[in-house]
Amino acid sequence: MERDEESSGPMMEMCTNGGGEETSNRRPIISGEPLDIEAYASLYKGRTKIMRLLFIASHCGGNQTMQLEALRMAYDEIKKGENTQLFRDVVNRINGRLGDKYKMDSAWCESVDRRAEQKKGRLENELSSYRVMKYVVLFMCCLVCLHRSFLVNHYLDNETNLIKESIRMGHNDFGDFYYACGLLSDAFKNYVRTRDYCTTAKHIIHMCMNAILVSIEMGQFTHVSSYVNKAEQNPETLDPIVAAKLRCASGLAHLELKKYKLAARKFLDVSPELGNSYNEVIAPQDAKVIDNINFRDFLELVPEVRELINDFYSSRYASCLEYLGSLRANLLLDIHLHDHVDTLYDQIRKKALIQYTLPFVSVDLSRMADAFKTSVSGLEKELEALITDNQIQARIDSHNKILYARHADQRNATFQKVLQMGNEFDRDVRSMMLRANLLKHEYHARAGRNH
């Protein structure tokens, strides 16, 4: 049975795998050129790498070489691990296109499966034995309490703790095992079970981290948020890396739940060493954000994105949007951002439009269209949508193609409201009195019947 220190080894590795971010200073390649898969993949390790590669493969959109490249790398990765399910999946996808070397290696599959069975059996045995021991110990505790022997009690407490510890470890191992095999829900269940046996805060944190990892993989981000909260509430000071990972995880969770603003805030707090594929979400944020010093260091790592953001805030919207366009292709391949790319782009664009119109009393639509690289009619439609949503206070002069800012007249509005309120009061009071009358009548009628 492994003790704490040893077991933390594989646990930490899992952490890095799950978080998936390089802690070194390697610069990630996010640029306009087609993604260099090898470089991209080298950033990630373990399971995430496999998942990301598979994602790229399925979303390549017909780019054969890229797809094959991704699948090949996925295959290599999987062989290093023990996940036969994924392996079969990848082999199907490759479909014999990469040559003989990558055919279905059934012997390997079988051996892996057998090993897995054995390990499972072993772990189960261990766990059940711990449980039995636990009951024995509890029974003895009860006896001791009856006899009120304190020393013995103390000793038994220790024993109980040890037993608890063993059980916890057992569950943990189980969880790890399932994770390696790819059976995520079982892994999750086991991690959660360890909660009952956690005695120190560190254990709790470990448990939370594992739970978070598995949840992220499974895509259940509500769990992620709850576990993150749990971990944060822990009074012990957190190791900075762990803290950063926690924030990362919660950021991811929020992203999935479409709370972009919250996500961006969380990401900001993350120390600059961590992965920066998330910085695109900053764009919809406030201007003040950019002054954050941490963020600036962060940006050194990614010159293109920095360019982009600078452009945005100096109102060079055209070039900004160009960059966005070029990044788009690559962002689509990112497993987490995929679903949100469109929405984010939309929001960035809208924010740009709103910002553009803010300082003006009147804006010539054709010049604005040039700045945003669209046609005048398209621009008109976009502006119309924004006005309807009440995000721009203006009106369009369609004849001369000018946008006029419009400020509501407070005084008139007040008068209108007053009159309206008076009418409503009138109507409501009358209705109320009528109803009261009817009720009174009903009551009288009933009383009349009763007497």
Binding site: E384, I387, T388, R395, I396, D397, S398, H399, N400, Y404, D409, R411, N412, F415, V418, L419, G422, N423, F425, D426, R427, V429, R430, S431, M432, M433, L434, R435, A436, N437, L438, L439, K440, H441, E442, Y443, H444, A447, H451
Partner: protein, 412 residues
């Protein structure tokens, strides 16, 4: 016929003062049964009485006269008689026997409807309502009948004059429901959708213990009227499903979809006699869409308006916009040379004396209503039934000696 002659004499004699009238009333009640079966006598005796002076007596006699079924030929004559009486009778005397009068008028209405000439009955009934009403704010049993006749006769203005009174006291719920329902329909006929909406709202929200067919019909109309008037869609109950769909499509703002739904459910609407209203709702969608455009644009070409609102061409757009300007729903200028419409802000500056008068009247009205409300509250707290009920409930809470225990029952 001695009793008849003596009756006539007493009528003629005692119709002068209020004291005499009550005596007369007593006599008439006693004599009622004996007179019941004597048709010809009654007709003759009626000739001798003058409706405006001897109203009470006349009423009793006339009522006895018309009680039985009347053959077709005589109906017209009877109707004439009744109309004349109603027009001329004295309000004070009538109020002493208001139920009789109401019954009489109802019969009158039925006869008129039988004759299929509702217009004849409108004026008499309107005056009848005025006479029976004790105060301007009371609802009488005649109100719905009068309104019904007006509807049949399509004489909306007369009906509307009755509706302009604020009704605050109601005796019979059913009268009230009918009143509101018919009133709503009259207002729809006059295109006063605001008032129609209010009246229908009153029916729909009236407290009732079982679902009332009147309320249901009113509810359907209410949904449609609201769409026309303010474009709001009201939450709909299940059994008004076609209306619900209409409401939804209206909200989407697309005309052709709305029309498709209307066509699909047109049989339902016809059954409820609401097809005309539905068509009006469809027409109002265009207006609603144009209204939305004014929020966004300062100037817009007619062709663009036609495109955005899904009208056929610019000419139709122009007619719609013109109509709306005349109705006062939007403020705009049409430049025919360019084919552009320029939308203006509401020019009302709230600085003129007319506006001040309007505000003043609204304030006065509000004050009046508040007074009414307070008076109602006071009267209710003195109502023995109410106190009895409250007293019963109070005992449950057992406040101890703080409150005197209220007796369980007030002997009435």
């Amino acid at each position: 016929m001695n009793s008849a002659e003596s009756l006539i004499k007493s009528i003629q004699g005692l119709s002068a003062s209020p004291g005499d009238l009550s005596a007369l009333h007593g006599i008439l009640k006693k004599a009622e049964d004996s007179l019941r079966n004597n048709w010809d006598v009654q007709l003759a005796t009626l000739e001798e009485l003058d409706p405006s002076i001897h109203s009470l007596g006349y009423l009793y006699l006339l009522e006895g006269l018309t009680r039985g079924s009347v053959s077709k030929g005589k109906t017209s004559g009877v109707v004439l008689l009744m109309a004349r009486f109603i027009n001329r009778c004295d309000a004070g005397q009538i109020r002493l026997a208001s139920e009789k009068f109401v019954t009489l008028c109802k019969r009158f209405k039925d006869r008129v409807l039988e004759l299929e000439d509702p217009l004849r009955g409108v004026a008499p009934l309107v005056s009848a309502v005025r006479k029976v009403q004790v105060a301007a704010k009371c609802l009488t049993a005649l109100h719905p009948d009068c309104l019904q006749l007006c509807l049949e006769a399509k004489c909306y203005k007369a009906g509307f004059s009755i509706l302009s009174d604020d009704i605050l006291e109601v005796d019979q719920p059913r009268d009230f429901y009918l009143y509101c329902y018919y009133g709503g329909m009259i207002c729809i006929g006059l295109k006063r959708f605001q008032k129609a909406s209010e009246l229908l709202y009153n029916v729909v929200t009236a407290p009732m213990y079982q679902l009332n067919a009147i309320a249901l019909e009113a509810y359907k109309k209410y949904i449609l009227v609201n769409l026309i008037h303010s474009g709001q869609v009201i939450l709909c109950l299940y059994f008004t499903k076609p209306y619900y769909e209409v409401g939804n499509r209206y909200n989407d703002g697309k005309n052709y979809e709305l029309e498709a739904v209307v066509v699909a459910h047109s049989s339902d609407f016809e059954k409820d006699n609401n097809l005309g209203l539905v068509k009006q709702a469809v027409a109002s969608l265009y207006k609603r869409n144009i209204l939305r455009l004014t929020q966004k644009y300062l100037t817009l070409s007619l062709q663009d308006i036609a495109n955005m609102v899904q009208l056929a061409n610019a000419k139709e757009a122009e007619t719609h916009v013109l109509q709306m300007i005349q109705d006062g729903q939007i403020h705009a200028l049409i430049n025919q040379k360019d084919g552009m419409v320029r939308f203006l802000e509401d020019p009302e500056q709230y600085k003129t004396s007319e506006m001040i008068e309007v505000m003043d009247s609204v304030i006065q009205r509000t004050i009046g209503l508040s007074k009414n409300l307070i008076a109602m509250d006071e009267s209710l707290s003195c109502d023995p039934l109410y106190l009895g009920k409250v007293g019963r409930e109070r005992q449950k809470f057992d406040f101890g000696d703080d409150f005197d225990t209220v007796p369980q029952k007030f002997s009435m």
